[in-house]
Amino acid sequence: MVSSQVIRGCIEQLRAITRIEFCVQDTAGNMVAQTEGAETPDRNMVTGFALSAVDSQIVGSSYYLKVMDDEELAFILIAQGNYEYTFMIAKVAVGELENLIVAYKEKFDRNNFFQNLLLDNLLLVDIHNRSKKLHIANSVRRAIMIFEIEAESEPIAAEMLSGLFTVQNGDYLTEVDENSVILVKSLEEQESYDVLEEVAKTAVDMLNMEAMVKVRSAYGTIVGELKDLSRSYKEAKMAMDVGRIFYAGKRVISYNELGIGRLIYQLPPSLCRMFIREIFGSDEPVEFDHEILSTIDNFFENNLNVSETARQLFVHRNTLVYRIEKLQKSTGLDIRTFEDAMTLKIALMVSAYMRELDRR
């Protein structure tokens, strides 16, 4: 429904142009919005007018008019001003308000449509009928992008995103929970994942700079029809979860680039626990100190090159070899060989996943 703030903005603009003061009240005579110089009308007069069959009424220098919403009375508009054009302007104001009601209703309907679409709550036939009614093209390339905003209920972030992504460009913003904003991003024929990556990075940087909030973004694959958007949404959600566990340093995560993390995420926890026990026994990676974890990480990043890793860690080669052998003693894995390095890499990722499951 159209908010009182929007109604106030509308009547203030009219007052600035015409010098006529306005009040807008609901059918029970409660004040919804009024311009700065407007006098508050008598409540009984307003409710009496609301119940009457007439469309308009003149009381002293005030004009009472009805604002309709699809043949139902929505508001009473009172225009106050001793000008010959007061009634005419009041009619214009009624027209404006009725248009606003229609626009906001449509906006709400769109929001509702996209929310249900993403959550798989619509039948195929409903998607077809409702999208047609709401003038939403069906066969357009789109992808879902989620922005997870850390600061609790930060309205500035959502408003900034709505400034960047507009319905006119075919984009749509909605929310299905408190901490995230969902962007339905439409794409041109030649645009691909590099564009999505750029859009996500730009939006994250913008929210960091302007709203000063911690944000992470994830996006799903590009789909060609409305009915497939829920898949893109599920992928984006998974990318967000998998990214949080395995790629904590990344602020933008693409479903297409989750790699082995996605595979691990989909494994049953019992299987993961069994695997961890097989590899580490009782000495789980959480027991490893930062030094050994950092050594392993660097060693993998340098493609198992001892000299380069030692150089980067500013340690003597022998120190690094000693650390690797110490790890071998506790795990039985010699990470200088590809097989064992791969096993440890997967085991560490599975272990990170288990920790996340325990945390939840």
Partner: protein
């Protein structure tokens, strides 16, 4: 007015990866600090910890003596300009700059003053009514900066703000940022991987690698007195030449033996070799391209090397010659009047006062 203090600041991600290790630094008010280093070195992570966009794993960060570790980003009185910026396409320049303040319910007259002041500083006054599509790349970047300036923060944080611009515009905007620092008189921390930007803008530069601070110093000192081989190689373009050599001490003097020739070291460098017991040991000897001297005609020199020039590059005011000395690829910066061309043999010597010597194993500086 803002002074910043970072004490043993570390960032460790949940998977154990240590992105920043024991970052220690005091930043005085109005300083222009540059964080520089290759990608993945932890410079942006440090900046984001200062902004509050990343949690600090351990250590303390203070602004004006007040601990900021748990203070929300919006309450730190800082403003940020990042690499990716977007302007609201349907808003004018004025509205783009005012939008953030409007959302924060700042009174209209205060917004108006802040926007007009920022526009004057950034020379955008005549563009305030334009929409973003009618602006050039540089003008858009200035609007993005304007959005940070209108907040009148104590500290500006900039993360590679110029990296999306073309080369010409980058140079132009670099100058603009330097001017901006003078006009605003606030503390700026600027992240870049471009060492030219670092050298030209910073009052002090922090060189980082693998999450570890390598050196904090003035641009000149970093160039002249690098702490280690990494800093020596990272600062300067073309980069410093590195040549394997053997240190030798004889008769109270020290020499570097390179490709069958002996280079006698000046007294201060000789002392470092002798005191550090480097006699007979392998060291890395570094020389900047401009400290390689072409020996013309039959001029005498205590030692001289001869190499065949592989590549000749004329840059107008200077010429770069590329040749090999043993297994090392050498770049020399010489006068544009040189007659040497690819295939010619060039005779050259080194300015021994400008030689840098590094420990081969630890890569730390022995003498500058």
């Amino acid at each position: 007015m803002a002074s910043l203090s970072l004490e043993n600041v570390c960032k460790v991600y949940p998977n154990g990866y240590q992105a920043v290790q024991n970052f220690n630094m005091e930043i005085a008010d109005k300083e222009f600090i540059i964080f520089v280093g290759p990608s993945g070195c932890g410079k942006s992570t440090t900046l984001r910890m200062i902004a509050g966009l990343e949690d600090i794993s351990s250590g303390t960060f203070k602004i004006d003596g007040k601990v900021m570790n748990d203070v929300e980003p919006k309450d730190r009185d800082i403003a940020m300009v990042f690499q990716n910026y977007a302007l609201y396409p349907h808003m004018t320049v004025y509205d783009n700059m005012a939008f953030g303040l409007k959302l924060r319910k700042v009174p209209k007259d205060e917004i108006d003053k802040a926007v007009k002041d920022a526009a004057r500083i950034l020379d955008l006054t005549h563009l305030l009514d334009r929409k973003p599509k009618a602006l050039s790349g540089g003008q858009r970047q200035r609007v993005a900066m304007g959005r940070a300036i209108v907040r009148s923060p104590k500290v500006f944080l900039m993360d590679e703000p110029l990296s999306n611009l073309d080369a010409k515009l980058r140079v132009q905007m670099r100058t603009e940022i330097a001017k901006l620092h003078q006009r605003l008189g606030t503390t700026i921390i600027y992240v870049t991987h471009d060492q030219t930007e670092a050298m030209t803008l910073g009052t002090r530069i922090v060189v980082m690698k693998d999450g570890i601070v390598q050196q904090i110093d003035s641009p000149q000192n970093l160039y002249d007195k690098p702490n280690n081989l990494f800093v020596a190689g990272f600062m300067g373009s073309p980069q410093m030449n590195f040549i394997d050599a053997t240190a030798r001490v004889a008769g109270g003097k020290a020499y570097l033996d390179v490709e069958g020739q002996s280079i006698e070291l000046p007294a201060d460098k000789a002392k470092a070799i002798i005191d550090g017991n480097y006699n007979g040991k392998q060291v890395t000897f570094g020389i900047r391209p401009e400290n390689i001297i072409e020996v013309k005609g039959n001029k005498e020199a205590p030692y001289a090397f001869e190499s065949t020039v592989n590549v000749y590059e004329l840059l107008g005011a200077e010429v770069f010659l590329y040749f090999d000395l043993g297994s090392a690829n050498i770049t020399a910066r010489v006068e544009p009047t040189t007659k040497v061309r690819p295939g010619d043999t060039v005779k050259y010597t080194f300015d021994t006062k400008k030689i840098h010597i590094f420990d081969k194993e630890t890569e730390k500086t022995i003498a500058n």
